[in-house]
């Protein structure tokens, strides 16, 4: 990528970093709170019960399931493992994995707030999430997936969560058969606080990197980016993958590029990292074999690329 060190002003860096943090952290907190509620009050078993028997209908439904699961990509992998254990077909789980971090209320809300009057952005993001998740599910349906699922996906959800998220639980006792409402709320808060701390590291580090990039990029270099549409889409997709930003907060960082980067590249940024990012790639090894993860990455980047190109036709004049 043609990154050229143009300037580094600590004042601009700190103001940029703090402003992105202050704007994004409410959504991180709300996401953690809702995630805790989901963990306790909505079990994967209930989701399985409502899945249609037709595979394509199930894939389509999974692409919209984010509306009931306001989780980010960090929290969705263990649930996907749980769904696989419940014999939910792999294409449905893939559609679920791809769509949930994008097609959910908190992400729609945060993207809408970040882009203000640019209503087209949350619309394109959600539409992209549904379309790409559905297509990814359909493509995976025609791929032989036997042997691509690791044995660990059969482990209990809690164990998955412990292993995948880097948490260790001490003195854990068997849960009571019928926990009281207060107990459930306490568990919910435990999950929420844990989720907040677990995801905040990716968020904060992402902000620091984004602010550094924002501060040091040369405007002419950025203009060079936007003049080359395929290059800018690929670059922003990769940047989004590497930054590992939470889908509930990445819109605020994407917004900072609006003046410099073309609209399709912004949309590619908002889609790629939210579906699978670098940290998620590692998390996915707990439920899928590396070869299948590589296939998923190729599918994701390819679909995002072509969707972003289609966006150029929809919004040829850009966002301004």
């Amino acid at each position: 990528m043609p990154f050229i060190i143009y300037r580094f002003d600590p004042w601009i860096f700190s103001v940029t970093a703090l402003s992105i943090f202050l704007e994004g952290v409410p959504f991180l907190l709300i996401g953690a709170l809702v995630s805790g509620l989901i963990e306790i009050f909505l079990t994967p078993e209930r989701v399985v019960r409502y899945l249609p028997s037709n595979i394509f209908a199930a894939i389509l439904l999974a692409s919209f399931s984010g509306l009931c699961f306001p989780l980010c990509e960090c929290g969705i992998v263990p649930i996907a493992g749980r769904l696989l254990r419940k014999k939910v077909p792999v294409p449905v789980v893939v559609a679920f994995l791809f769509s949930v971090p994008l097609v959910n209320i908190t992400v729609i809300a945060s993207t809408s707030v970040a882009f203000g009057r640019m209503f087209i952005v949350p619309l394109l993001r959600v539409a992209g999430g549904i379309i790409i998740a559905t297509l990814a599910g359909v493509i995976v349906h025609f791929i032989k997936t036997d042997g691509y699922i690791t044995g660990e996906s059969g482990s209990a959800y809690l164990k998955d969560r412990v292993v995948l998220s880097g948490w260790q639980i001490t003195d854990r006792e068997p849960a009571p058969e019928k926990p009281s409402f207060i107990n459930k709320l306490t568990q919910c808060m435990d999950h929420s606080v844990a989720d907040f701390f677990d995801t905040s590291k990716y968020f904060v580090i992402g902000i620091m990197i984004a602010s550094l990039v924002h501060t040091m990029l040369s405007p002419p270099a950025l203009m060079q980016f936007s003049n080359n549409l395929p290059g800018s889409i690929v670059s922003m997709s990769l940047l989004s993958y590497l930054l590992c930003l939470c889908s509930q907060t990445d819109a605020f960082i994407a917004k900072t590029f609006v003046m410099q980067i073309s609209t399709p590249a912004i949309i590619a940024f908002l889609l790629s990292g939210s579906m699978i990012d670098l940290k998620n790639t590692v998390l996915l090894t707990k439920i899928f074999k590396p070869k299948f993860i590589a296939i998923l990455l190729i599918i994701m980047f390819t679909l995002v690329f072509f969707y972003a190109l289609a966006v150029q036709k929809i919004v040829p004049g850009g966002l301004l």
Binding site: D9, P10, W11, I12, S14, V15, T16, A17, L18, S19, I20, F21, L22, E23, V25, P26, F27, L29, I30, L33, V113, G116, G166, W167, Q168, I169, T170, D171, R172, E173, T186, M189, D190, S192, V193, A194, F196, F197, D198, S200, K201, V204, I205, I207, M208, S211, H214, P219, L222, M223, S226, F252, I253, K255, T256, V258, M259, Q260, G318, L320
Partner: protein, 245 residues
């Protein structure tokens, strides 16, 4: 993987939340929050302040709970980073006039300045004989003069920093402000070209209150470009709130 003690883990979490809560409260109570977030979005900062307080109170109430999750590594220290950044932040606003971005729009022409707008004049604005730019009406009046050339000939008063650029023409400069749409990361400079009067001198990045007559001239793309014919100027200190929203 090194696992820290239960007590240290809880203490670090409470400290991180307390620090973030303190940062939020300080920015809200001191009014400095508008340096980072546009006033219309301050409500979301208030929401996170409440949620941080809820999380912290919960951790304090359950501080001695036996069952506990222990976090290791970055999860413990990451929330402290914004606090460190805030500690190094010096509220001089010295960089306000130096932030430059390059909008990609047909309306951009000079050095990344976003010079153009949309939205017609309100009846009151059209009827006024003087266009008096304030912090509150800056963006709406700016949009108006770029979209409605019938206001040409009116007296105009505008405050901003001067940006000198030879490409705007001899004896000309841009009177500009930084406009914040949502947060400091999305700020862009907006401005109007001024034609200095005889003997007048303007210094780059210095703040001025300019008075003059609003005129229009045709541009090569067929649009009408507003130009302020400066009749008077006063050098001023940078305002307490240098941005407009």
């Amino acid at each position: 993987m090194r696992v820290i003690s239960l007590y240290t883990s809880r203490l670090l979490k409470v400290a991180a939340l307390a620090g973030l809560l303190g940062l939020h409260l300080y920015l809200l109570m001191s009014g400095q929050i508008v340096t980072f977030i546009a006033p219309s979005y301050v409500i979301i900062v208030k929401i996170s302040t409440v949620l941080l307080a809820v999380f912290m109170i919960y951790l304090l109430v359950t501080f001695n709970k036996k069952k506990e999750t222990i976090t290791t590594g970055l999860s413990q220290v990451a929330p402290f980073l914004p606090i460190f950044v805030a500690l190094f932040y010096i509220p001089t606003n010295s960089a306000v006039t130096t932030v430059a971005v390059m909008p990609q729009s047909d309306q951009v022409n000079i050095d990344g300045f976003f010079m153009g707008g949309s939205g017609g004049a309100t009846p009151e604005q059209t009827e006024n004989t003087t266009l008096d730019f304030t912090n509150e009406n800056f963006v709406s009046l700016y949009n108006m003069i770029y979209s409605d050339d019938t206001v040409g000939g009116k007296k105009i008063t505008i405050t901003g920093f001067a940006s000198l650029d030879q490409r705007v023409g001899k004896g000309r400069f841009i009177i500009a402000r930084m406009v914040m749409v949502c947060c400091a990361a999305d700020m862009i400079p907006i401005g109007v070209i001024c034609q200095a009067g005889e003997g007048m001198e303007f210094l780059d990045k210095n703040w001025y209150e300019v008075t003059g007559i609003l005129t229009y001239e045709d541009t090569s793309d067929g649009s009408r470009q507003p130009i302020i014919m400066v009749t008077g100027d006063k050098k001023i200190e940078q305002p307490e709130t240098p941005y407009v929203y």
